[in-house]
């Protein structure tokens, strides 16, 4: 221990040299990462680089090896699912629902970790769910069937369910994919609000590098399941780094109004 080193704040989530394999195919390799309370972190990288798996490992949706995934300083494997669900919410990319549940019923499912086996949702649970729907502007279709609303509305309902879970950390897998610009901004603004007003820690996988730089405090760049670089957007969004990871040449333009970065792929000539 160096006496001159600053006391580092305690991490909320941590991966320590984590590995994960699907059918012996390594997806995450020797991955170390700390997420601190109140951070807004973006995970970026090409398709199939392991972004979704990384989020699932952090949330304990996929079982990591022993002594490699931590929440609040404790090995995730040793914590009860229900207790964990009171602290971490995970929003998947797609939400296929087989049966005709109403949007409000889907949001109320977020209260599951707080209810004993045979209990019904209390007035308080309903109040919390209703507030989550107000926050995500989904109240107007509370009584519509989840299967019959648009994909942007579904995504917002799933975020409302995650908010109703009252977690300390939210993990989101491409929450804005397949949405138009307005819905993308709406969802990211909701997350920013959760982060700013309630101190929720946000970790999300994102394809859009510009939006990532606009909203995230810190970016985590991964390729082939390995950490390439992490840090503030200005550090990670470097021409040479992106060239290594995405295998294309890009121009990086700084938007002075908000400090975000526009990443523009360079047109390639027919002979290149």
């Amino acid at each position: 221990m160096h006496s001159n080193s600053l006391q580092e704040p305690r991490s909320l989530m941590e991966l320590k040299h984590s590995d994960f394999k699907y059918d012996r195919e390594p997806v995450i390799q020797d991955f170390s990462l700390k997420i601190f309370p109140g951070e807004f972190v973006g995970v970026i990288g090409p398709n199939g680089s392991g972004k979704s798996t990384l989020l699932k490992l952090l949330g304990g949706i996929l079982p990591g090896p022993k002594n490699s995934v931590y929440f609040d300083g404790l090995d995730l494997r040793l914590q009860k699912r229900k207790t964990l669900a009171q602290s971490i919410a995970w929003v998947p990319q797609e939400n296929p629902m087989v049966f005709p549940f109403k949007a409000s019923e889907v949001v109320l499912m977020g209260r599951h970790p707080y209810l004993s086996a045979l209990a019904f949702e209390s007035e308080e649970d309903c109040r919390i769910a209703r507030r989550a729907m107000d926050l995500t502007h989904t109240s107007q279709f509370a009584n519509r069937l989840f299967n019959e609303i648009s994909s942007g509305e579904k995504q917002r309902v799933m975020i409302a369910a995650a908010i109703a879970q009252e977690p300390r950390a939210m993990l989101l897998d491409e929450p804005t994919s397949a949405l138009d610009l307005k819905f993308q901004m709406e969802i990211l603004n909701i997350l920013k609000k959760m982060n700013r007003d309630q101190g929720a820690t946000i970790v999300m996988a994102l394809h859009d590098l510009h939006l990532a730089s606009k909203f995230c405090d810190r970016l985590v760049l991964i390729k082939n399941g390995r950490l390439v670089e992490e840090g503030p957007p200005a550090t990670v969004l470097q021409r040479d780094l992106l060239k290594t990871v995405y295998e294309i040449d890009v121009k990086i333009i700084r938007d002075e109004t908000d400090g975000s970065f526009l990443i523009s792929p360079e047109a390639q000539g027919p002979n290149s």
């Binding site: 939400n95 049966f99 019923e105 109320l108 499912m109 599951h112 086996a117 045979l118 019904f120 309903c126």
Partner: protein
């Protein structure tokens, strides 16, 4: 904005109504039959029971049969609802998972071999049918690999249907090689029926059916989340593997137990959960107990028709369940879509 949610009041109203339906069915069904019975005579303690024809018909012929119908309907409907939730598929049911085919093969083997023994109050045919049903499920589930807790539904159903066909062919072969007496017994069993019943059988199967259904009721809210995906359920604190295992085992047990006694009665396990879902929505806390009462009432209703429509000839009850249930289901489906 009305925020519809589950509470005790809604639960008691909905489940209470289905319970009343079952009580009414249970009360009316014994009065109907090919022979008219005099209830004042049946309950009279002046006449010795052995000489009391009305009491004999009521207590020995009709009542156990009606109670078996209730147990069978309840078990099949609840099992179907669980299979559909855990496999997240509308077509999951005892038949499409091979359970019925397995039970049939077991029963046919017992009849062909002519083995006669009793085990825990069951004769050889139901014991073999039970073993067959469990074997079929084991085969179906061993064929698929569970990847990260998400059951590969389409493979399971494909495997189930294949196992059912395979077993059906073996049933046909054994049937072909049987003598005329065995052949008649086999046909009779395969048609499914509630007629061969005594109280001993009821006492043997009732605790298993109620035990299985209790486990499932305990899992009801977990099933809601599971039906929305294994991983999302996990992120909300559901112990996914435990719920899948407990749910499937309980559903398989209650199915195998009743199918072993009654023979394969199609349709109830597939359609009753859908009918009830169309009436009251997909929440399993309501759906499971409601499907239990509705399944029981539906089965008693169908069996009453089966034994009276062409009296004194009986129609196999499986024919009635499909003939009544099919159009009723279409009607509900159409009504649902137009609203």
């Amino acid at each position: 904005m009305t925020f519809n949610f589950m509470n005790k009041k809604r639960y008691l109203t909905v489940v209470g109504l289905f319970f009343v339906l079952l009580v009414a069915t249970l009360a009316v069904a014994p009065m109907i039959g090919s022979t008219k019975i005099d209830f004042s005579r049946a309950f009279s303690n002046q006449i010795p029971f052995a000489d009391n024809v009305d009491a004999n018909i009521l207590f020995i012929v009709r009542l156990p049969r009606i109670l078996l119908a209730a147990l069978t309907g309840a078990a099949l409907a609840v099992a179907g609802a669980v299979f559909q939730a855990v496999l997240r598929n509308d077509l999951a049911a005892p038949i499409t998972l091979g359970v019925s085919g397995g039970a049939a093969l077991g029963a046919v083997i017992a009849i062909r071999l002519g083995w006669a023994f009793t085990f825990l109050g069951f004769s050889s045919v139901p014991v073999f049918a039970f073993l067959g049903a469990m074997t079929a499920l084991a085969v179906v589930f061993s064929l698929v690999r569970v990847r990260h807790r998400e059951l590969p539904t389409s493979y399971l159903l494909l495997a189930g249907v294949t196992v059912n066909f395979f077993f059906a062919s073996m049933v046909m072969m054994i049937h072909y090689l049987s003598n005329i007496t065995q052949s008649f017994q086999i046909v009779r069993w395969l048609m499914g029926g509630l007629d061969i019943t005594d109280y001993q059988t009821l006492i043997s199967i009732a605790p298993l059916v109620f035990g299985g259904i209790s486990v499932i009721i305990y899992l009801a809210r977990d099933l809601n989340l599971l039906s929305a995906g294994a991983e999302p359920a996990m992120s909300r604190g559901v112990d996914v593997v435990k719920t899948q295992l407990a749910g499937l085992l309980a559903a398989a047990l209650i199915t195998a137990v009743v199918v072993a006694v009654t023979g394969p009665i199609g349709f109830v396990g597939l359609i009753v959960p859908h009918i009830v879902r169309l009436m009251i929505g997909p929440d399993h806390r309501l759906l499971i107990p409601s499907a239990m009462f509705f399944g029981a009432s539906f089965m008693i209703f169908c069996d009453t028709l089966a034994r009276t429509l062409l009296a004194p000839t009986e129609i196999p009850v499986g024919v009635i369940t499909a003939l009544i249930g099919g159009p009723f289901f279409f009607w509900l489906l159409k009504k649902q879509q137009s609203s």
